[in-house]
Subunit: 164 residues, 2 copies
């Protein structure tokens, strides 16, 4: 399987511990609603001592260039992966952001917060539309607004735990 002629770029196979870490990231990213390949790209970058070329990532993870490109685009967009384009070097290199903040930020800002805020507006509209006398329905909506409110207060709390 291994080619003993000098490789152009360093792309050692993944060590056993790296495999384990990748699996860990796959589970974590899944919680955040992000697919396996994205998790693995982040994982392989997290494990690597040095920045990697997209090409390295493809080779180590055995994924297509398309997947890598799309995945890296998403991850750099989230700020969980950084792209550098060193002068005098044709390929860009990628590094994993080492703090958890960005990833959690994605979860909170992209998955949670929008649902909470649109939820609030809609709930208030609904409440407005329900006739005064329908106490039962009005109360149900009020309970939902209360959940919404509690969740809203919880988010910053969670953030602080991870940012400091």
């Amino acid at each position: 399987m291994k080619d003993s002629t000098a490789p152009k770029t360093s792309a050692p196979e993944l060590a056993p511990w790296e495999h384990e870490v990748l699996e860990l990231f796959v589970g974590m990213f899944e919680t955040f609603g992000l697919p396996k390949s994205i998790a693995m790209i982040y994982g392989v970058l997290y494990c690597s001592d040095e920045p990697l070329y997209q090409e390295d990532i493809c080779r180590r993870l055995e994924i297509s260039a398309g997947s890598a490109s799309q995945g890296l685009k998403l991850l750099t967009g989230l700020g969980t992966v950084h792209r550098q384009s060193p002068v005098g070097q044709r390929q860009s290199v990628y590094t994993a952001e080492r703090s958890m903040r960005r990833l959690l930020g994605y979860f909170i800002d992209v998955q949670l917060r929008p649902r909470l805020s649109t939820g609030r507006e809609r709930l208030e509209q609904i409440l407005h539309d329900i006739p005064e006398e329908d106490d039962v329905a009005r109360n149900k909506i009020k309970v939902l607004l209360d959940w919404q409110h509690k969740a809203d207060r919880a988010l910053p709390l969670i953030s602080t735990l991870f940012t400091r």
Copy 2:
């Protein structure tokens, strides 16, 4: 569309506000990794003044009996929906648990906690397997353990916000 002959069971069509609430639940449940039909079953029960038969749920949501059965099984398993079997009545009826606790409990205990705890064990094993001298790798694992630890401390905090 409506049959004016006396209906066996009361199964009024969903009111506009109920549709809105269902959509809200769909979004919320999605965050928790639960599919649309499950969210809608919970939603229709949440909105209803009175307990509903499985049959009512099928009719209002226009889903199959199989879906309803599976969905109700899952939801009662989580404790977010309660099943009652009144004596002298052949069908069971279902009610939505009104507090958010159970739902959040599911998210924390089923989605989050297992990943955190197996993660911890595995990380410690990995750390044990990495040679003493590989400081870089060891440090990466230690950072992950730290994330894990922070998340672990965050969970109870979140719970308390919603249970009282």
